[in-house]
């Protein structure tokens, strides 16, 4: 391995545009030489910004280095370039699994397995996630938005409102514990309309979400259904990339609850 690294390094030095950077970067990553791996990957990406394997390599390095948010972005980019890229499907699948999003994890891991059916480790991972998603025993349980949301905190942080901004479910309080759900709901209706208008007039299609990073929290507004909006507040130390994932999870619970109510 060391000889290979030496040889590939020499080859890359002689020809900086060589695609050998992919093998070199991966080898350095496996040896936990993260700084060197990052330099190689970033230099390669600069030359080949549309090469899916380059984004995949970079994502793997970022994931090993603990920068999951950026790793997600890089694998997401890889999939935009090649929707069937096995490495990216696997990577995003594992990230979703780590975030507790088992349904999305399974979806991506199964897609990866279709591309690489001989990957035994991947096949085992798929089985494991399938087991976790086995439906619970049937018993009457009232669906709760809060049950699927992050653990409760002293102030309430999740609010579901209708298109007119009237609260349907959940509560929202400010850091002093004052109930603000109705006021926020009223503002959310206008904000959502503004978001829809901006997306429409700028030819971006249907708006899907609004992520807001503040000095004291991160906020997220999503649409569980065309007639409802979900507003969630998270601590500022929750990475903003995870904010969207969590809000989507809560939105799915909200949809199930709304269906059950109907």
């Amino acid at each position: 391995m060391i000889d290979d690294i030496r040889a590939w390094t020499a080859e890359l030095a002689a020809d900086p545009s060589s695609l050998i950077f992919l093998r070199l970067g991966e080898a350095l990553r496996r040896r936990s030489q993260m700084e060197a791996a990052l330099k190689v990957a970033v230099a390669g990406l600069t030359r080949y910004p549309h090469l899916p394997d380059a984004h995949d390599l970079y994502a793997r390095i970022l994931s090993d280095a603990g920068d999951l948010e950026r790793a997600f972005d890089e694998w997401d980019m890889t999939l935009r370039l090649v929707p069937t890229h096995a490495g990216a499907l696997k990577g995003i699948g594992f990230l979703y699994f780590r975030a507790g999003e088992n349904e999305l994890a399974l979806q991506h891991l199964e897609a990866a397995l279709q591309e690489t059916p001989d990957d035994e480790g991947l096949a085992q991972a798929v089985e494991r996630v399938r087991d976790l998603l086995q439906p619970p025993p049937l018993e009457p349980v009232e669906p709760e938005v809060e049950a699927s949301a992050p653990p409760p905190t002293p102030d309430e942080r999740v609010l579901l409102v209708d298109a007119g901004g009237l609260p349907i479910r959940g509560r929202l309080t400010d850091p002093a514990g004052v109930e603000i759900g109705e006021r926020i709901g009223a503002l959310l209706a206008g904000t959502a309309r503004e978001a829809a208008r901006a997306a429409g007039l700028l030819s971006l299609g249907e708006w899907q979400g609004l992520l807001i990073e503040c000095t004291q929290a991160n906020l997220c507004l999503v649409k569980p259904t065309p007639e409802t909006y979900l507003f969630e507040v998270q601590d500022p130390d929750v990475p903003i990339g995870q904010l969207g994932l969590r809000a989507e999870r809560t939105a799915r619970a909200a949809r199930r609850w709304l269906e059950a109510m109907r």
Binding site: D73, D174, R197, L204, G209, L211, E213
Partner: protein, 116 residues
Amino acid sequence: MSRTYLTLLDPLTRLVGARGAMIVSAEDGLVVAEFLMENVKGSALAALAASLANRVARVVETSGRGAPRFMQLQAKGGSVFVALAPADLILVLLTGPETAAGAARLEMLQAVERMG
């Protein structure tokens, strides 16, 4: 147009999928500086982004969670990123769906720091 502002906007336009970057007056939604692809209507982007930012600011203020500093409007066909800058300005970036949000956020927050 100020060379300084164009220098600030240049790195943003180099992001994969970027369609336009601008500095906008938050209060009146007018363009201060812009660097756009030819099919992007700057006045519309400026006015709509500023309006959305002002609405978000009211939500944040009511929620008692400090002040907004960055936001992303996600849509099927792309995103509008907004970072709040000094002197009642906002930094706006319009992108396609292929733009990495993490990279856009970092570049914009760095640009805001340079504006300070």
